[in-house]
Symmetry: C2
Subunit: 394 residues, 2 copies
Amino acid sequence: MISYTEAHKKVIETAMDFGETQVHIMDSIGCVLAEDILADRDFPPFNRSTKDGIAVNSKYIKENDSLKIEGICAAGDPQKELKDFANCLEIMTGAVLPDNCDAVIMYEEVDIENGKARISSSPIPGQNIHKKGSDQQKDEVLLKKGEPISSQNIGVLATVGKERISVKKLPKVAIISTGNELVPIDKVPEIHQIRTSNSYSLQALLRQLNIESELMHIPDEKDILEKRILTALKNFDVLVLSGGVSKGKYDYLPEIFEKLSVQKKFHRVAQQPGKPFWFGMHRDYETHIFAFPGNPVSTYVNFHIYFNDWLDACMSASSKNYEIRMNDEVENSTDLTKFLLVSANHEKAVLTGNLVNGNGSGDLVSLSKASGVIKVEPQSAFKTGSAFSYVPFR
Amino acid sequence: MISYTEAHKKVIETAMDFGETQVHIMDSIGCVLAEDILADRDFPPFNRSTKDGIAVNSKYIKENDSLKIEGICAAGDPQKELKDFANCLEIMTGAVLPDNCDAVIMYEEVDIENGKARISSSPIPGQNIHKKGSDQQKDEVLLKKGEPISSQNIGVLATVGKERISVKKLPKVAIISTGNELVPIDKVPEIHQIRTSNSYSLQALLRQLNIESELMHIPDEKDILEKRILTALKNFDVLVLSGGVSKGKYDYLPEIFEKLSVQKKFHRVAQQPGKPFWFGMHRDYETHIFAFPGNPVSTYVNFHIYFNDWLDACMSASSKNYEIRMNDEVENSTDLTKFLLVSANHEKAVLTGNLVNGNGSGDLVSLSKASGVIKVEPQSAFKTGSAFSYVPFR
């Protein structure tokens, strides 16, 4: 049995690039850019008025002058020209500064009457003008390849006309449940049966990572398992399984993986929850197998402490590390690395947490109350107020 | 011009319930429950073995006994019965404890040979059994009406067979851009034009709130604006607009809203960015109008400081309040409440931030570098390390 640290390392080592794909801008949030996004022109693309008012040539006018209005420049109009330098043009926010002008005086500082604008003070050259190229110059890199796309980036992508964007391809994932006690969600279980739940949790978690996945259930029968897992190995980049990896008589998966030439990276980790976790990779198909134990809390927590980091590594994104200060004493008298459910709060600017006391790894309701897990090293004890490495649930 | 606090209050006051709807479990994350979720049976529904091993009757056996194995209980099998109390049944994790048994001894503590299991110690009654109803009892409330559904809840919903779930209905939103300078994202703009970007940012933000929205662009022509806004008023719960509310000659929206009997709640707020923000509600259609200024940063920030909280209020969900400690000196010498772009970090367990210095409200690239805004009251100055109210971007 290997330690959590070793297991985590072995998982991360298998991270690979799944190539690139094109997505529509509206489907791009959360994806990782596979191209640099360049300014296709200067920003702003022209000297742009930032106020509603009049455009003038500051060199030819002075305080108390009354300027004849030659016309009006609206946003969206092609550039106009001030004919007589002692005159002015009305101008709207977002409009192109007219030729022969170098300043904008806002309406609040002007009296307009009978087609003339009286100004109360001399303008400063450049005032109320957002200068061409002052934000960004053409061909400057606005967003870098490798950056994850956030909602803040969407405006940039739209502005430079990227309707379709090259992003890193996400792995194709199948979620496989095993266990003859499981019935589908829409069936009423017999007394000795329970409904499938892990597959839905996993699918929800994957969807939050932008990964659409396929659900399948395979009964605990060797022949069927072997046949269907072989098909899945050929058709997916990742198989996420729950159940079938413990020491039970019908826990056939490790044996079947071996038969199908999946290279075992490890089986069983000195951790709680999720000790029976099996992880491997098929040499030819390069399919990754995350075979989590069947208990709901084990599956859910293991997904967060292994799969998320692995995916970040595949995307060459850095995993975020959080710390949390616990309002409880925390103890781990076992030889296992423990991941304890906590409910986190923001108290002032500090992230604090309380232990969620549950009934063990089958207890979905405790999981529901938790917002993440803290990592507690074997044989350790901590006073109230101690800081822990924290993995938030998504 | 009213203060930010007054404006925010007026927006929240218009919050309303949009009713209920049913969604599929896989589309339910982020939705707010409109029903209590009850346990449809005890959890676990039977006395469940938590280990692979043998099931025994502790009263009839003792250390070093060799117990004849009567058979095997797999997960998913109906309950079996131990015939002779001095015998045992093999049992797998997740299986129903057989009748006449009260303990499970795990394989690691048993020697099996020739159909017999020799035990090395006397079992304690109840050991390795997850007792029926010990997590939850039938009809207990597992998730409360009004709770937002997280990925942690999906397993609970699946377990009790909720394939379709009653959730609070979200408003139907139209995103309307105005401004003749705007061209669609797939067009190459003329020198005096720019591409639409706010609509895409807003649509992305709404999608993150589970709200699908419709995009429309209306040119700055009074008749067309009036006609199309009237149609939108009738067909949507919310119109989110950007642009057309400043003091420019072609900023027709306030006038048109009035003509269409939209009740103005306020126009212009003592805030930066987003001073020209116009907010109102149509009395008959109950349509809410968030008319944000056209500058990209104004629109994006105003959406976060008004719309998000308003939606939370509509869903009767409590808005989260965050604080952040700034690594910079912060000053606001204006009479406006300022929302400054910051980039946040987790340093140990503390949320800290740095100012993102930008080029004003048109600067999308600065927005791209920010993770949220801090609120800075008018006429105030703060030393490095001061704490601020923080609104993270989603």
